[in-house]
């Protein structure tokens, strides 16, 4: 496997979706290519960072206000 093939298959690799042979080739390549090893670890960092910090959040007060408003509207709908 070459670097560009590994990068193209990186999402499948991370999802554990590669077939056994391709996965073995990917692991073999990663063991010997510091460039791809860096790409992999940076990608994992980016994924972790998105999960931890990527959200746009509502305030607590908006949360309460919107739930009450939804329930009011549903009350009107069902009456």
């Amino acid at each position: 496997m070459q670097c560009h093939e590994l990068e193209a298959n990186l999402t499948s690799f991370l999802e554990g979706e590669l077939d056994q042979d391709t996965e073995a080739e990917a692991l073999k390549h990663l063991a010997t290519c510091s460039h791809c090893e860096t790409v992999l670890s940076e990608t994992r960092s980016v994924i972790a960072a998105s999960a931890e910090f990527g959200q746009e959040r509502m305030s607590q007060s908006a949360h309460k206000r919107l739930l009450n408003s939804v329930l009011d509207q549903l009350g009107d709908l069902t009456n």
Binding site: S45, A51, M58, S59, A62, H63
Partner: protein
């Protein structure tokens, strides 16, 4: 009497779904409509729809994907109705910045989460919309690739490509910063 019981349980269901998923709905909506007021409208409209369609939700474990699909469509329909707003990603970048500077939520986020969080959020927001949604759904909200494909109504290989390219762009943008 049976009808009353049924409607009561649907209310309980909505409250539970709202508690578990309203933040995710807001997160997806905000990334499309780019202002708090419209994103809040999407949250409300989504849970009204959820109430009306809740019988269609057979598999509880798929609630998040199902809800976010409704939210995504609601957000797009708001965007279509609001044609005067910028839709080009380059214009949007300036628009987002202006919006975030004035947003109380952004201020409290900044205090709570600091510069690193802002850096990451800005990098996600700077992605083109197709890549941004794939990243928000897969990496921020943790949907499976199959669920992301359902929400965006695209095929599995297109989904995988968007996630791959989104992560590549984030990596290029964030390397050395995280």
């Amino acid at each position: 009497m049976p009808e009353l019981d049924r409607s009561d349980s649907r209310f309980d269901l909505i409250v539970e779904l709202f508690r578990n998923h309203a933040d995710a709905v807001y997160n997806v909506a905000y990334r499309i409509v780019w202002n708090r007021s419209d994103a809040e409208d999407v949250v409300q409209a989504t849970f009204i729809q959820v109430f009306l369609k809740v019988d269609q939700l057979r598999d509880w474990s798929r609630a998040r994907g199902w809800l976010l699909q409704i939210a995504y469509r609601q957000a797009l329909s708001i965007l279509r109705r609001r044609k005067e707003e910028p839709t080009d990603p380059a214009d949007l970048a300036a628009y987002i910045t202006a919006e975030q500077r004035t947003s109380e939520d952004a201020v409290s986020n900044q205090i709570l989460r600091g510069e690193l969080a802002d850096t990451i959020r800005d990098a996600i927001n700077a992605l083109p919309q197709s890549l941004r949604m794939a990243i928000v759904l897969r990496d921020v909200e943790g949907l499976t690739l199959a669920e992301v494909a359902d929400v965006l109504d695209i095929g599995p290989s297109a989904t995988k490509m968007r996630v791959t390219r989104g992560r590549q762009q984030l990596r290029a943008d964030l390397v050395g910063k995280i």
